[in-house]
């Protein structure tokens, strides 16, 4: 297993390399200049020129590229040109936030998606199945940022003006924690975090949940028709156990591979949702950095994005092996 993981990680190296090279080329060919943030009439253009030289931006592209690769290989992500802080510091703050948001969404996606998929498969062609299918499709078809705006409009704004609306269903419109978070007890802290997570994770995850439900439904239908389900029934296993024990584990197999597929999708969504909900994550960081042409930050964030996807795919494969005894990685 260890050697398998090592081999997979090794295989990922050219992939990461490719991603970074692509981003490097795109970023540096694009017009724009990181010194713009310091641009002011009283700043001598010669000083800006010097800044560019200090950052090595006057060098030919391939030299910049190799220089950057070299420092990257030594674990140095560089220094943010616009935030004046080491990029690694910035990432240390931002990555956890994105992971919390996408992690919660992922949980939500799979919990809700799988549950709905099972219900649909068990009650195939029933009214509930049809309602859920069409409902899921509607949700699946919403732009995440638009859904986010609508959620804010309703659950973080309109309901705050209703007296009868229960207090705990009035959600904050932005942020990760309340400003007085530090004064809370442990339970309140957790609650506060969850309250802040509700709307963004719904906006981010609900469309994927709908698609997981669709996959789960067909996967479950496929499994239910298998011979071993008949065997289980012939053994006198109650229907509930037939579904939840015998069928579920098998039906989950194709769903596990989705885990790796959804992460890039979630990260894409996170870029928008983090903007709508003022969530200080990597998505916002990279978009801001792209705007400001903060090359080191863009490169490092891209790397983390791609690396997380690689890791997620690996985890999905390992999970697959854990659930499916037929697969053994040597």
């Amino acid at each position: 297993m260890t050697s398998y993981v090592a081999r997979r990680l090794l295989q990922a190296v050219p992939l990461l390399f490719g991603v970074l090279t692509l981003v490097f080329i795109f970023m540096h060919v694009a017009p724009g200049d990181p010194t713009a943030l310091y641009m002011r009439p009283d700043v001598d253009p010669a000083v800006l020129e010097q800044m560019r030289r200090n950052w090595g931006l006057d060098q030919p592209l391939y030299i910049q590229y190799f220089r950057w690769i070299a420092s990257f290989l030594t674990g140095d992500f560089g220094f943010s040109l616009t935030q004046n802080r080491p990029v690694s510091d910035i990432l240390l703050e931002r990555v956890p936030n994105t992971l919390i948001l996408s992690g919660t969404s992922l949980l939500l996606i799979f919990a809700i998606g799988i549950a709905i998929g099972i219900v649909q498969a068990v009650r195939q062609y029933s009214t509930m199945d049809n309602v859920l299918t069409v409902g899921a499709l509607f949700i699946y078809s919403m732009p995440s940022f638009w859904l986010g705006l609508m959620l804010i409009l309703i659950f973080a704004y309109k309901v705050h003006q209703l007296d009868w609306w229960p207090e705990f269903l009035k959600f904050p419109a932005s942020g990760v924690t309340s400003t007085n978070y530090d004064l809370f007890g442990a339970g309140q802290k957790l609650g506060d975090r969850i309250r802040h997570l509700v709307l963004p994770s719904i906006a981010l995850g609900v469309s994927s949940a709908a698609s997981v439900a669709r996959y789960m439904r067909s996967s479950m239908l496929e499994v239910i028709r298998q011979d071993y389900i008949r065997t289980a029934r012939a053994k006198g296993v109650p229907e509930r156990s037939v579904i939840l024990k015998h069928a579920l584990k098998n039906a989950l197999l194709p769903i596990i591979t989705l885990l790796g597929l959804y992460l890039p999708f979630l990260f894409s969504g996170a870029v928008l949702v983090e903007y709508v909900f003022s969530w200080p994550g990597m998505g916002r960081t990279i978009v801001d950095a792209i705007y400001q042409r903060d090359y080191p930050t863009v490169m490092a964030t891209s790397f983390i994005f791609a690396a997380l996807v690689v890791v997620a795919n690996l985890i999905a494969d390992i999970l697959y092996a854990l659930v499916d005894p037929r697969i053994r990685y040597e």
Partner: protein
Amino acid sequence: MNDMPERSGEIRHRALRLLMALIPGLAHLRQGHTHAGLSLLGLALSMITVSIFANERIQATFTAGRLDYWVALLTLAVTLGLTWVVSGVSSRHRLDARVGGSQWAIAWLGFKQNRVAMLGLYLMIALYLATLLGPFLTGYEPSVIGDIAATRHLPPSVEHLMGTDKFGRDVFTRVLYGARISLSIGFIAVTISITLGTAIGAVSGYFGGAVDTVLMRLVDTLISFPRLVLLITVIALFEPSLLIVIVVLGFTLWPSTARIVRGEVLSLREREFILAARALGLNSPRIILRHIVPNVLGPVIVAATLGLGNIILIEAGLSYLGFSVPLPTPTWGNIINDGREAMLQAWWVTTFPGLAIVITVVAFNLVGDGLRDALDPRLRT
């Protein structure tokens, strides 16, 4: 002898045939094909309604000298004409009669059975019709700005079905014209990405080996990177314009198609008819084009339909970040983005284009799912 009843029967018969020729769909209805009949009838009626209500604008077509008016007029005429032609032709030779025909005929039969998919198809047709007929469906111009102070942020009413935006423009009109851009972006970008994806997937799967490895590494790279970030980076390189957005979307969305096609080709490659073609000494491009591509068309069409919905969503997201087609060209994403700051006092500006996106994407997905079921009997449950 007694030819009176026969004659009256004859007259009735003739009258009926005349009526059936005049009213599209009636023949279908009489034959019990309620569905087809009603849709033809509905289509004809709605076209006639549009002609009556847009009378002035239709006349203006001849003087306005604008392409979109001509397109709308053409659409109106062709659609109306088609309802008659289809009504006349297909009520006699119904498609169903040709069972046992090609794979496509069978797929169509399967598709027709799927009510939800048909609903999607109807929605899709309605959307495209509305888009083409745009100038006749509204009395306003999408980008003309009048007296802002008087018309700004008017709530939905009979006058303005979806209210007005911050410049006093009719949101319904803008959504209608936005459909034109959003749908064509989707259409062209999907065409590009499907063509590219099919070509690359077919080549990769057919040749295998190093070619496959290199191409699939590229696909992995593109897939493992958050798409939106990639798009933003690329679009920042150029400047946002209709062309760039289409091209960039088209050129970045092909990997998933390539993967699907490659998978299909891998399984096809070992099948007898391909082996036979190889044994016959046909050259590779010929085998790919003549034997492989037609056989992967099914999954590709499904991918295209689902991809269309996806592209509309992505375009909206790009607009939101300011990376899409520039103003004042209305796209759905643009309109939402434009109304975002006024969301608190004018919810309609963001809500309606959003709903338009949802309905469009739903329609495409319904059709896509229906096609998948129809084309791939294995998945039928």
